[in-house]
Symmetry: C2
Subunit: 418 residues, 2 copies
């Protein structure tokens, strides 16, 4: 399912970069067709005009409403109106001044503008043309939001109603577990990834990590703000806004107010003679399933350093030079996988699993065996592969960056070429 980056390819056939780099690899879950127009998220005039003419992706327990195995389903404003209301009728500053922690607000996230579907598409009411005249020019397309309709809290009943109406809106619609088979078409997978990561981040950040007070979603779901006052603390409705204790997050810019993305490394490590690659397996994976090693980047660690550290900690192998191949967002919950290719040091190829006993096994596997598995025996750890022969190496599917890294290695990405 991984596709080359095509939107710029045609005009780049003879470009400077392409001579050396060839086509850029675009991994699954990346390259959303939406224009995020991130600068419009705090533009209330834009949001107010856009909302009733937008399409909405619904998520229940972080899984999307889908029209089929490959396609997301969208609903129009009419389906979500009673749940969502008109949150952008109030300027953000005024909204924060009137903040009341007793009032539950549905989690609604602006994803971006779908510039491609005007005049067609699978959504509700596609074909409507929406235009917004901004400082930098005209922004045209269908605005897209993600909405959490999980049945919980005081909004539970309203959410259930929206779920029902949406599912009944067209045949075959259901909330689908995407990770199970990664069968969503790449553009839809990228949109879902953005929606899932942002809804999950909002869910996990209901309180301010600096002061412990309740936070509220701002900038159309892409920021969490610790409001300076709370009506729930007022004794009489006529009193002035009840001020909360000071919080450092209200002054200046703080990363804790913005969505969190966790950089991780995933690496194909080649032996020093260039004919084997290091693979490992976790205990919970099916028998015969192996993949490249991976782990989280730490603060003040370059990607290259993290590749060396994680490889040594998990397998005992010492890695020298590291180069980055491509990257892949992974929305469980919000990882950014940096795919790298590294080379073991000739004196450091011995495998030691006991530093950090995370892996059940790690092995040096010959390129030929890897190539055969990539061609004939791949799948996610979660799904049984039909007709897979027992005792044969099984590798991740092409939607996983691990697969792309292994493909690059067995195809000689690391070798000198004229």
């Amino acid at each position: 399912m991984t596709q080359p980056y095509t939107s710029a390819t045609e005009s780049h056939e003879a470009s400077m970069l392409s001579r050396k780099f060839g086509q850029e690899i675009v991994n699954y879950f990346s390259s959303s067709p939406l224009n995020r127009v991130s600068f419009l998220r705090s533009n209330t005039a834009f949001l107010r005009a856009a909302l009733p003419r937008s399409k909405f992706l619904l998520l229940r327990d972080l899984e999307p409403l889908a029209a089929s195995k490959t396609t997301l389903a969208w609903v129009g404003y009419e389906t979500v109106r009673t749940l969502v209301g008109s949150p952008f009728d109030t300027e953000q500053e005024e909204f924060l001044r009137g903040y009341d922690s007793r009032v539950e607000i549905p989690t609604l996230v602006f994803l971006g503008i779908d510039e491609g579907v005007v005049g067609g598409g699978q959504g509700s009411g596609d074909g409507e043309r929406f235009e917004f005249e901004g400082e930098g020019g005209k922004y045209v397309g269908r605005p897209c939001f993600a909405l959490d309709v999980t049945d919980k809290g005081s909004l539970g009943e309203e959410c259930r109603k929206v779920q029902e109406e949406a599912v009944e809106g067209a045949e075959g619609r259901e909330f689908r577990k995407v990770k199970l088979d990664l069968s969503l078409a790449p553009p839809d997978a990228a949109i879902f990834a953005q929606a899932r990561s942002l809804l999950d981040w909002n869910n996990r950040n209901q309180f301010c990590s600096a002061c412990g007070a309740r936070t509220v979603s701002t900038n159309a779901g892409t920021k969490r703000t610790c409001p300076p006052s709370d009506k729930a603390l007022q004794k009489n409705p006529e009193d002035p806004p009840f001020e909360r204790p000071p919080c450092v997050s209200r002054k200046g810019i703080h990363n804790i107010a913005f969505p969190r993305t966790d950089p991780t490394v995933i690496m194909a490590i080649i032996n020093s003679t260039g004919d084997k690659v290091l693979l490992g397996r976790q205990r919970r994976w099916p028998k015969d399933f192996y993949s490249t090693l991976a782990g989280f980047c730490e603060p003040a660690e370059s990607v290259e350093d993290a590749v060396r550290r994680e490889t040594w900690e998990e397998s005992g192998v010492h890695v020298g030079r590291v180069v980055i191949h491509s990257t892949q967002p992974w929305p469980y919950p919000a990882s950014l996988m940096m795919g790298a290719i590294g080379e073991a040091r000739p004196d450091g190829e011995g495998i030691v699993l006991k530093h950090d006993p995370e892996l059940e096994d790690a092995q040096w596997v010959e390129f030929g065996q890897v190539r055969r598995a990539l061609e004939g025996n791949t799948g996610t750890p979660e799904v049984e592969v039909e007709g897979a022969a027992e005792g044969q190496l099984r590798l991740p599917p092409s939607t996983a960056i691990a697969h792309q890294l292994l493909l690059a290695v067995v195809n000689g990405f690391h070798l000198a070429k004229p």
Copy 2:
């Protein structure tokens, strides 16, 4: 100050990767000489044995105690004993059961083992040999911790005492603002970066973002845990532990419990004829100071996508293919900069600053002019360059990845080579 990755270079002269990739670029703030041995952070037996034989880097308001402009200063356990105590005498589970939110605990972070300084070095008591026999083998060297001695809260007086004793410990010692001139030697800069990012993260995460209750540092400063009970809530000291309300963060693994690192992109964008590079400047920078464009990665965005989005949002330029050059940790507070080189689409080179008016200016600058500035007119935005001619392009210093990206571009990194 940026050095090639040398520890593996000698044995790699004739390696497979080096033919294509040459030397890996190691950026400032990366490649710490410490072995993080991350799997030992939860090993109380190790921590208990290591603590009294460790060296400590002190930070005040997130700036380190330094021996000179280039070198960090370290103190021994005797200097910090009254402040730090013996936190690892209790197993973590027992410690959490006895948690009392009224008791302030100094922020102490295990950085790793300095395997190089045994027998010498600038610290207090270097030459001591510490060994720990673990499952995966023997770990040998000087354990290193970072300790926050900022004068605040109930520990303020104790912190002031430690500061004074440490500064008086040797001539020339002072708490130095590192960012001002980035003059710390690269290995010391990398250690400081880790210390600063982790202390800052602990400071900003005193409360659980999932439930709002106070958190406590665990895993030697590399995790924040939301304890299940709190003695402060007991009425009588004889009562059983007072349970706090359930919190989702106590079940399973959650990213909110672990240090946060923010992936950012920074990119040298080349025009389609390959002779100019896109530079921009922020309002607050000195006159004539320019750099490459940069911005934060968003959830569910690949690095390549983020480069295209940020470039378009800030400058209006449409980017095609993107490749990643190298990465740099930036501990203000905890960014991971992904340095990339991208190519503008021939039909998308027009500059528009008004989408997101973050930049004061953006320009296409000829390689020759960039080369001259890299050679003769660089510095941080914070420091006046002596003798800098007015009206001449000024660029970031070699410690900044922006400089390395521009150097790569003017030296033909993007051109095909045999």
